[in-house]
C-alpha cells in the first residue's frame, strides 16, 4: 500500500511543480503550490504507518500553514488584480535590477 501512496504523492508533486513553472496565471500557480503541499501531506500520512503517529501530526501543521498562506496569498493576488486588472505574472516584473 505504501508504495502506491508514495507513487501517487510523487506524481501529484511533479504535476504541482510543473504547474508552477509553466503556468502564468497567478491563481493557477497558487493552486499548484497547494497541490505540492498536499502531495507532501500524503507522503507524511503514508509514512506514519511505518514510523508512528508523528507523520499525521505534522500534516496538521502543514494544513495550518497552508491555510494562513492561502489567506495572505489570495489577498495579495486580489490587490494586484485591482491594480493591474490581470493576474498574469508576466505583467508584474517591476521588482528587478
Amino acid at each position: 500500500m505504501i508504495t502506491e501512496a508514495l507513487v501517487l504523492s510523487a506524481i501529484l508533486f511533479v504535476i504541482g511543480t510543473f504547474g508552477v513553472l509553466v503556468r502564468r496565471n497567478a491563481i493557477i500557480m497558487f493552486l499548484c503550490i497547494e497541490l505540492q503541499l498536499n502531495a507532501v501531506n500524503l507522503s507524511f500520512v503514508a509514512f506514519s504507518r511505518l514510523y508512528g503517529i508523528e507523520g499525521q501530526l505534522f500534516v496538521f501543521f502543514v494544513m495550518t500553514v497552508a491555510a494562513a498562506e492561502a489567506a495572505v496569498g489570495l489577498a495579495i493576488i486580489i490587490s494586484i488584480f485591482r491594480h493591474y486588472e490581470t493576474v498574469n505574472v508576466d505583467s508584474f516584473n517591476l521588482l528587478k535590477w
Partner: protein, 719 residues
C-alpha cells in the same frame, strides 16, 4: 593634587643636596606655561572679537593707548609679569647655590613620565651650575625682551597671541635646560622648535614669512633625527637616558671608540640643526621674518644656543671622542668664517645680525670642540647679552623707520641700511647702547666679548698643541680661521653701525621728521643689556690676564669665576683630556707667544679694524635703495647673494625631492595604487552588474532556478 603640592614644594627629594635647598624650581617652569595659558585664552577671545568685527564689515578698533580692549592690555602685564617672577625665583635659587659649593647635581623628582619594562623616564628637573647659568640667561634676558616687546608690538593686532607664543617658548626652553634626562631635553628641544616656527611665521598672512617658518621647522627636523638616534644608542648601551647615570657609566667607554664617536656625532647633527651651523644654517637668516624681539630672544640669545648647551652638557661623551671634537671645532670654524664673509655685504640690518649670530655660534662650537666647555658657555652668555642688545637696538631702529615711512604712506624698506644713515641724531640712546654691543662683539677690551672670544681662541692653541693631540694641524688652521673671523666681525659690525647711525640721513626729508627715539619701555632693556655687555665678561677673566694689563693688575674682580663655577660639571671631561692628551700647550700654534700677548694683539687688531672701517665706510657715499643702481660684480656679488647656497640647496636637494614627491604622487600613488584600488572597485561593480541581470522580476524564472537548484542538490547527494 598631591603632585601639585609636590610641584610647589620642589619634590623634596635631592640626590646629594649638600647645603643647597632648591626654592620652588618647578615654579620657574610653570609660570611661563601659566602665562601661555592665560594669554592663549585672551588671544582666542581677541580673535573672536576681531572676526566678529570683520564679519560686521569693519575692523577691530584697537583705539589709542588709553582705550584699548582688555585682551590687548592684559598681556602687557601677564607676559612680562610671569617672566619677571620666574627670574626672581631663579635668582633666589642662584644665590642659594652660589653659597652652597654643590658637588653633585640636585635632581628634583615630580612624577614618572614613562615606565615601560626596564626603561623609565622621570619628570624631574636637574639643578646644577650649568642649568643655573642657562636659567639665569633665559629668564633674565627673556624678561628684558618681553618688556621690550610691550613697546615693539604695541600696535600689532595679534598682541595677545604674540605673548602667548613667547611665554610658551620660554617654558619649553626651560624644560630643555632643566630636564634631568635627554628625553626631557628632547621635549624642550622640539617645543622650542615649534615656538620658533610659530613666531617666525607670526605674520602668517604674508606667504614669504609663513614659508620662512616652514623652512626653519623642516631644516631642524634633519638635525632632530640625529638627536633621536643618539638617544637610542644611549639607551641601547646604558639602558637609560638620564644624565647622571649615563655620564657615570660613560667612563667605561673606550677613548676614541666607534660607539662614543657615533653617539656624539649624532648629537652634534642635532646641534648643527638647532644652532644653525654648516650645512644646516640656512634657516636662521630666513628666520628674520619674525618680529625683531623674537629674533633677539629665540634666534640670538637662547634657542640657537641649545646646541652649544647640548655639547657642554654631554662634555664627558664629547671629550671621549677626539674625532667628534675635531669635527665640532672644524664645523664651528668653517661656519664662523663663512657666515662672517656673507655678513660683509648684506644691506638688511637684521640679515647682518643673523649672519653674525651664525658666525658667533660657530665660535661657541669651536670652544666646546677644543674641550673648553666653560669657555663655550661663557661666550654663549656674553653673546646672549650683546646680541640680544644688537637685535633689540635694530628693532628700535626698524620701529622708528617703520613709523616714519608709515606717516607718509611710503613703501620703502624700513630694514634696509641704505635707507637709514645719520640716525644717531634721532636715537641717541639706541646709538650709544648699540655701539657698546658692537665693541663687545668685536672683541675689544674691556668689553664682555673680548674675554669670551679671546679665551676660545687661546684654548684652540692649548688644545691643539697638547702632547698627544690628534689632528694638531687641523687645530692650527682653526686657530687662524678664528682670528680672521674675529677681524671680519669687527669689520661688518662697524659697517652696520656706520651705515645705520652715521653719515647723512637718507630716509627722506618728510619721513625724517617722524624719526624718534624708542620709548622708555624699549630703551631701558637696551640700557640694562648694555651694562651687561660691558661688564658681563668680568666674571671670567683668565688667570693669565687677571694680574696683567687686561685685568687692570688684578683690579678686575672674579678671576675665572665661571670656570670654577662650572668645575663640578667639566671636571670629568677635563680628567679624560688630561689622561689621554697629556700636558696642554702653553703657546699659540705655529708662531708661539703667550696668552697675554695674543690677547693684546687681537684686541689691538680689532680696534684697528674698527677704526679703519669707520674711515673707509664713512668715506663711501651710500645712496638710498630707490636711487641705488650699483651693480655688484665678482666676489662682492657672490657674497651679496650668500654664495648662492640657498639656490644650490634648491637645485640639488629641494627640487629633486619635489620632483620625486611629484613622481610618487602622480605615478605611484595616483597612477599605480589608486589604479589598483579603483580597478578592484570597477571589477566588482561590473561583475555585480552582470549577475544582477538574473534578477528579471519574473516569478517563474525564480521558481525555475529554485527547482533546478533543488534537483542539483538532490542529484549531488545521490552520488
Amino acid at each position: 593634587m598631591a603632585s601639585l603640592a609636590a610641584l610647589l614644594q620642589g619634590g623634596g627629594q635631592t640626590a646629594d643636596g649638600g647645603h643647597f635647598e632648591p626654592f620652588f624650581p618647578g615654579l620657574v617652569v610653570i609660570l611661563p606655561l601659566l602665562g601661555f595659558l592665560l594669554n592663549g585664552i585672551l588671544a582666542l577671545q581677541h580673535a573672536r572679537a576681531s572676526a566678529d568685527a570683520v564679519r560686521g564689515g569693519s575692523e577691530l578698533d584697537l583705539g589709542d593707548s588709553s582705550s584699548r580692549p582688555v585682551t590687548h592690555t592684559l598681556p602687557t602685564w601677564i607676559g612680562p609679569g610671569v617672566m619677571g617672577l620666574a627670574f626672581l625665583i631663579t635668582l633666589v635659587n642662584f644665590t642659594r647655590m652660589f653659597g652652597a659649593h654643590l658637588e653633585e647635581p640636585v635632581i628634583v623628582h615630580y612624577w614618572t613620565w614613562i615606565a615601560t619594562g626596564t626603561f623609565t623616564v622621570e619628570a624631574a628637573l636637574q639643578l646644577d651650575q650649568l642649568s643655573m647659568i642657562m636659567m639665569m640667561i633665559i629668564t633674565g634676558v627673556g624678561t628684558l625682551i618681553h618688556v621690550f616687546s610691550v613697546g615693539y608690538m604695541r600696535d600689532d593686532p595679534g598682541y595677545p597671541r604674540y605673548f602667548a607664543y613667547l611665554n610658551l617658548f620660554v617654558f619649553f626652553m626651560l624644560v630643555l635646560v632643566m630636564g634631568s634626562s635627554y628625553a626631557l631635553m628632547f621635549v624642550g628641544w622640539e617645543g622650542v622648535g615649534l615656538c620658533s616656527y610659530l613666531l617666525i611665521g607670526y605674520w602668517f598672512s604674508d606667504r614669504e614669512k609663513a614659508d620662512a617658518g616652514k623652512k626653519a621647522f623642516i631644516v631642524n627636523r634633519i638635525g632632530d633625527v640625529g638627536f633621536l638616534i643618539a638617544m637610542f644608542l644611549l639607551y641601547k648601551n646604558f639602558g637609560t637616558v638620564d644624565f647622571v647615570p649615563v655620564f657615570h657609566d660613560a667612563e667605561a667607554l673606550i677613548y676614541g671608540g666607534g660607539l662614543v664617536t657615533a653617539i656624539t656625532l649624532f648629537f652634534f647633527l642635532g646641534a648643527v640643526g638647532k644652532s644653525a651651523q654648516m650645512p644646516l644654517y640656512v634657516w636662521l637668516p630666513d628666520a628674520m621674518a619674525g618680529p625683531t624681539p623674537v629674533s633677539a630672544l629665540i634666534h640670538a640669545a637662547t634657542m640657537v644656543t641649545a646646541g652649544v648647551y647640548l655639547v657642554a652638557r654631554s662634555s664627558v661623551l664629547f671629550a671621549l671622542s677626539p674625532l667628534t671634537s675635531a669635527i665640532v671645532a672644524g664645523v664651528g670654524a668653517i661656519t664662523a668664517l663663512f657666515a662672517a664673509t656673507i655678513a660683509l655685504k648684506q644691506n638688511d640690518i637684521k640679515k647682518v645680525l643673523a649672519y653674525s649670530t651664525v658666525s658667533q655660534l660657530g665660535y661657541m662650537f669651536i670652544g666646546v670642540g677644543v674641550g673648553a666647555y666653560a669657555a663655550g658657555v661663557f661666550h654663549l652668555m656674553t653673546h646672549a647679552f650683546f646680541k640680544a642688545l644688537l637685535f633689540m637696538g635694530a628693532g628700535a631702529v626698524i620701529h622708528s623707520m617703520h613709523e616714519a615711512y608709515h606717516s607718509t604712506h611710503s613703501h620703502e624698506d624700513a630694514q634696509d641700511m641704505r635707507n637709514m644713515g645719520g640716525l644717531k641724531a634721532f636715537m641717541p640712546i639706541t646709538w650709544v647702547t648699540m655701539w657698546l654691543a658692537t665693541l663687545a662683539i668685536a672683541g675689544i677690551w674691556p668689553f664682555a666679548g673680548f674675554f669670551s672670544k679671546d679665551e676660545i681662541i687661546w684654548k684652540i692653541g692649548e688644545f691643539g698643541g697638547a702632547e698627544n693631540a690628534a689632528y694638531s694641524g687641523v687645530y692650527a688652521v682653526i686657530w687662524i680661521i678664528a682670528l680672521a673671523a674675529a677681524m671680519l666681525t669687527a669689520f661688518y659690525m662697524t659697517r652696520m653701525m656706520v651705515m645705520t647711525f652715521h653719515g647723512t640721513n637718507r630716509t627722506g626729508e618728510e619721513e625724517a621728521r617722524n624719526l624718534h627715539e624708542a620709548p622708555a619701555v624699549m630703551w631701558v632693556p637696551l640700557a640694562v643689556l648694555a651694562f651687561l655687555s660691558v661688564f658681563g665678561g668680568w666674571v671670567n677673566v683668565p688667570e693669565a690676564l687677571s694680574s696683567g694689563w687686561a685685568g687692570l693688575g688684578g683690579l678686575l674682580p672674579m678671576g675665572e669665576w665661571l670656570h670654577h663655577w662650572l668645575e663640578p660639571l667639566t671636571a670629568q671631561a677635563h680628567h679624560i683630556q688630561e689622561v689621554n692628551l697629556g700636558e696642554l700647550s702653553h703657546s699659540a700654534p705655529l708662531v708661539g707667544g703667550g696668552e697675554a700677548l695674543w690677547a693684546a694683539i687681537s684686541t689691538l687688531a680689532a680696534l684697528a679694524v674698527v677704526a679703519i672701517t669707520i674711515r673707509v665706510v664713512g668715506g663711501q657715499t651710500v645712496v638710498a635703495v630707490k636711487e641705488d643702481k650699483t651693480q655688484l660684480t665678482g666676489f662682492s656679488r657672490l657674497l651679496y647673494n650668500k654664495y648662492y647656497v640657498d639656490e644650490f640647496y634648491d637645485r640639488v636637494i629641494v627640487q629633486p625631492i619635489i620632483r620625486a614627491s611629484r613622481f610618487c604622487w602622480k605615478v605611484i600613488d595616483a597612477g599605480f595604487i589608486d589604479g589598483v584600488v579603483n580597478s578592484v572597485g570597477w571589477i566588482s561593480k561590473g561583475s555585480g552588474w552582470i549577475v544582477s541581470m538574473l534578477q528579471t522580476g519574473t516569478v517563474n524564472t525564480y521558481a525555475f532556478i529554485l527547482t533546478v537548484g533543488v534537483l542539483f542538490i538532490l542529484g549531488a547527494s545521490l552520488f
